[in-house]
Amino acid sequence: MNDSELDQLLKDGSPPVQVPAGFKHDVWLRIATAESAAWKPCAARLLERLLGVFAMPPVAVATCAAMVVAGVWCGMQPQKSDPATEVAYIQSVSPFAHAHRR
C-alpha cells in the first residue's frame, strides 16, 4: 500500500464529526490561558514559604526589631535643608541684601 492509498483509507475511515464554530479558536485560547496561569501556583508557593519564614518566632522578632531600628534611623536623618531658610539667614547678616530692593 502506497501513501496515497493510505491517505484515502484514513479519509474514508474518519467518522463525520460536526465541530461547533470557533472550536479551533477555543482550543488555542484554552492552551494559552493554561500556559499563562502556570506561574501563579509557583508564585503562591513561594509567597507561602516566605511568609512561613516570617511566622517563625526568631525571624518575627528580628523583623520587627529591624523595622523599628530602620524607622528610628530614617527619622533621625537630617531633613534636606530648606533653601529659603539659608537665604533668609544670609540676608539677615548682609547689609547688601538686594533681594528686598526698594
Binding site: 511566622a55 529591624a66 524607622g71 528610628v72 531658610t85 547678616v93 547689609p95 547688601f96 538686594h98 528686598h100
Partner: protein, 156 residues
C-alpha cells in the same frame, strides 16, 4: 501564611511608628527655634546641627549684630541714593559725583569688612565640620555682596 502576613504588617506598622515618633521629636526641636523671634536662625541650627550651647551663643552674636547691620544697610542705601541723584542730574562728572562714587565704595567696603568680622566671630563657635559648611554657604554671598545693586534695609 496568615500569621506571617500579620507579622510582616506588625513590623511595618512598628517601623512607621518609630519613624513618626523620631521625626516628630526632631520637628518639635525645630519649631522651638521657629517660635523664636529670629526665624532666620533656623538654618543655622537645622543645617549645621548646632548644640544648644552653640546655638545660644550664635543667637547672642546675631542679636548684637542686627542693629549694626541695620545701620550699615541704611548707610549703603543713603550713599546709593545720593549717587543716583547726582548721576541723574546729568551735569557730567562733577567733583560731587566723583565724591559720591568714592563715598559709596568706601561705605560698601566698610560694611563688607564689618559683615566679615561678624561671620568670623560666628564661625569661631563651630567645630571644623560646621565651620567649613557655614563658610561654604555664607562666604560667597558676603564676598560678592558689593557687586550687587543698592542695598535695601531688610531690618526695617
Amino acid at each position: 501564611m496568615k500569621k506571617g502576613l500579620l507579622i510582616l504588617l506588625v513590623a511595618l506598622v512598628a517601623g512607621s511608628a518609630a519613624f513618626w515618633v523620631t521625626r516628630t521629636h526632631q520637628q518639635h526641636g525645630r519649631q522651638a527655634v521657629l517660635l523664636d523671634a529670629m526665624p532666620e536662625l533656623a538654618w543655622l541650627r537645622g543645617d549645621l546641627r548646632l548644640s544648644d550651647a552653640q546655638f545660644a551663643q550664635a543667637c547672642a552674636l546675631h542679636t548684637a549684630y542686627r542693629p549694626q547691620c541695620a545701620v550699615m544697610c541704611r548707610r549703603i542705601a543713603d550713599a546709593h541714593a545720593q549717587l543716583e541723584s547726582l548721576a541723574q542730574a546729568g551735569r557730567g562728572m562733577t567733583p560731587e559725583l566723583a565724591a559720591a562714587i568714592s563715598e559709596l565704595a568706601r561705605v560698601r567696603a566698610e560694611c563688607q569688612q564689618k559683615m566679615l568680622v561678624h561671620l568670623y566671630q560666628t564661625v569661631r563657635l563651630f567645630d571644623d565640620r560646621q565651620a567649613e559648611r557655614y563658610l561654604e554657604k555664607v562666604l560667597p554671598a558676603a564676598l560678592e555682596a558689593t557687586t550687587a545693586g543698592p542695598a535695601a534695609c531688610h531690618h526695617d
